[in-house]
Symmetry: C2
Subunit: 496 residues, 2 copies
């Protein structure tokens, strides 16, 4: 019972270590006390604007000090925050806001045009207007219950429509604790965050900062040169990266080495290419491979320090509070080096998807979450991730779900069938490409489809190429065989 | 739900980091894998001896590698371990074993005489015989639930009879995590334990070892010279001590300094005398004062690194997951520097006393545990402990409860009233002394009372002096005023 009750994270941290630095953002620095005071002010302004405990509230914000303050203000009020990817189109935003029944959308004033905003059926609180609202004494949630929902982050799956992943305070807490038990932590630690705060990769750093009492160094976006400079000047010890970021850092490093105070890159967002890991070793850049997802509130598997050289290419072993199995199609445990579906369990694993009873029944069995990802375990229990959910495309750290793009394409009147898959890309790791079958009576151009996708999908999801074919590869029960799409590509059967 | 489920601590640690050192004991060293394998063997022998999941089992063992193995073997089987103080008399042991309905007593073969053993109504498993039992394949508790009871430790209170404090896996887990969040931890950490494993001060180090993956350096007993030597030779970073131990270390240190790898002494077991803290500062010995008790599964309040100089004498602030208040007699919160009862809350706080409904009703209100200790908070929220439970005597780190000694004295046919209090002692901090009123018809000698106490009480609880008086100081409702006993002493009214 009281195992689940804890003091409000930020308020408690500000009480325990008020004078420690909480945040570096450009030239600004905030202590935990200052961060709490600013968040308290904004909580009062949010309340004056009508925001209330228990509501779902969307946030559409960039990586910025203001965003950190707003996110903690929402926690102080006990609001469930819907973290919106700021690369989404208005159509996608409207869908997620409606699905979560968000009462408000807090957003950067510059983000959307007036004609776009009117399509969102939600009360808009532009950040600049919110900040100039009069303060009223907020009702602060002094204690949190670990089972309460803190955030909702949308991910898509094989079904097309994104699903809201419920992340409780407990999920975030246990993720932070599991990471600390694996990596250790000291009062010298400083974590650099240039991944988006609206993704679990970024948000989890925010949570670690307040639980550990550790400074967060926040960048608006990733820049390899600035990364290297600030690792030096701000004594960064840990940084979360995806493969494309790490590649750029390594390219930019040239002859230099990182300072000895730097402990590691935490590498997520899909399996790392071996040449990259080897390049890191050559430059004495310590890399910890990880495996995780929105549903596990960031990393759930990480390679421990002592194995970083002997188990290169492995994502490691589960964090202490978590468990992992690889299951064959018949539900039996796979033997060593036998590929199967990765299933996980632990207090960092989501309680489920928002209002998605069917998906919840499908993905959770006996307390285990079925990731859909394919992997294998070696004799010692080290995980090798072979493939993210059979059809997931990972492009520059963003997850792209073919089914979501296919659903958009099928909504175009000129298209009768659509199949999307990923192809390798030097810069982004992977990019999506589309295969479409046209209605007999219509002729659609590639340019037209491109524009149609741009209006309905975040830019990174828009296929880089549209291939017109007569028939999609399907199995006997007419299920689309996305892997076969690549064969069409290789066969050169692409041209119209 | 699955927030409360975790893999078995030792088995998981042996899986995650099999080759890390778990334990140094004299000339022996065990890795986590070896510790698991030995514990698994002993679990098989315990099961072959009849020990089963869910039972209460008493252990009466010294600080030894074997004890560590047995304690983890019991966890592997899912047994609730009753940790018995090996300084208790047979009468006290019998009481605790009976109160906990222990099915077995695992003990050092040398500890009790045959005629003592027969008075214990429990099946005895002598360690040496247990170890030579044939192994059978044990049924291992692969997962633990954080709400399951792991250990029971007896403490007395104002009512005389000791109460069994239920400590769940969650209590121990959260205590370890709270400590790590405060002290930080790295893969260089090694914790020296020379406090008894049967006390929470020692047992909590065992739990931290397995949760952190950190070597435990176990000493059979405390020796200042050996402590200093091994802090050097074994690169100890942290050591748990009580005041008397720290005093001896400081005295023994003389001209030397501790190596820079040594991080701190964690000082518990009652308020520290200011001269000791100053002597530590003079020798550059870092000390973290703590406040905790069996019911909080070790420290719940600790002074953070950055305040160790400015807040000398304070026990600090609560660990991150915990909360603390000081309440006046009317139940209102005390103002700054106003003394009142310390009440605490958090996932490390016991779920209650075994089979003690009344005490549980009395000490737990709205999720808060009423410690009975007196303290005050300064403006910034730092705790100063003024007095342990009004009448608690702390002698060399052992808690002594006057009511328990009084109950024994009153059982003597020649005594009609008894009052016990503590007086200052250079070596032990405090020692108990007794004030007794004789029955009119009898004459009892001090020597006779001493022998009577030795037969019924652990030696450290036996009063160092017995004063015969005509009347005990009592208030209007005849409640004994233990503090007034000291005045009698000071008045010189002691002689018969």
């Amino acid at each position: 019972m009281s195992n689940e009750i804890m003091p409000n994270f930020l308020k408690n941290r500000a009480f325990l270590t008020p004078d420690r630095t909480a945040l570096f953002f450009n030239e600004q620095t905030l202590t935990f006390k200052e961060l709490y005071e600013q968040s308290y002010q904004v909580a009062g302004k949010l309340q004056a604007s009508g925001v209330r405990n228990g509501q779902f509230v969307g946030v559409l914000l960039k990586n910025h000090l203001d965003t950190v303050v707003i996110l903690f203000a929402l926690q102080l009020l006990g609001v469930k925050t819907v973290m919106l990817n700021n690369r989404l189109t208005t159509v996608e935003l409207a869908w997620q806001l409606n699905d979560s029944q968000a009462a408000y959308l807090i957003m950067e004033g510059s983000y959307l045009e007036a004609n776009e905003i009117v399509t969102l059926e939600v009360t808009i609180l532009k950040k600049e207007e919110l900040f100039s609202t009069d303060f009223e004494l907020p009702v602060i949630q002094e204690e949190i219950c670990l089972t309460d929902v803190c955030t909702v982050m949308y991910t898509s799956g094989t079904t097309g429509n994104p699903k809201g992943v419920l992340q409780t305070y407990g999920n975030h807490w246990w993720s932070a604790i599991g990471s600390a038990l694996n990596l250790g932590f000291t009062d010298k630690d400083r974590w650099l965050c240039s991944v988006p705060l609206f993704h679990i990769s970024g948000f989890s750093i925010l949570i670690r900062s307040v639980i550990y009492g550790m400074p967060l160094i926040l960048h608006e976006s990733f820049d390899a040169k600035r990364t290297i400079e600030e690792i030096q000047s701000k004594q960064v010890t840990i940084m979360s990266v995806v493969g494309t970021m790490l590649t750029k850092v390594i390219e930019t490093l040239e002859e230099e080495f990182l300072p000895s105070s730097f402990r590691c890159f935490l590498l997520g967002g899909g399996p790392a290419p071996l040449p990259l890991l080897k390049a890191c070793m050559a430059k004495e850049v310590p890399v910890f491979q990880t495996y995780g997802m929105t549903e596990t509130s960031s990393q759930i598997v990480t390679l421990s320090p002592e194995y970083s050289l002997t188990k290169i290419g492995s994502a490691g072993k589960p964090l202490f509070p978590a468990q992992l199995q690889v299951l064959l199609e018949d539900g039996c445990m796979a033997g060593p080096m036998e590929a199967g579906e990765i299933v996980v369990k632990g207090p960092n694993v989501t309680a489920g998807y928002l209002n998605r009873q069917e998906a919840n029944m499908d993905k959770f069995k006996n307390g285990w979450f079925y990731t859909g990802d394919i992997g294998k375990l070696d004799e010692e229990g080290f995980l090798y991730v072979l493939d993210r959910r059979s059809d997931l495309i990972i492009s520059g750290g963003e997850n792209i779900y073919p089914a979501e793009i296919e659903a958009v394409l099928l909504a175009h009147p000129g298209i009768s069938e659509a199949g999307v898959t990923g192809i390798e890309d030097k810069t982004w790791g992977q990019v999506p490409i589309a295969f479409v079958v046209q209605n007999k009576e219509s002729i659609v151009s590639e340019e037209e489809l491109m524009q149609f996708c741009l209006a309905n999908l975040a830019k990174y999801k828009v296929p880089k190429k549209f291939a017109f074919i007569n028939k999609l590869p399907r199995n006997a029960s007419k299920k689309l065989l996305r892997r076969k799409l690549l064969e069409i590509l290789e066969d050169g059967r692409l041209e119209r």
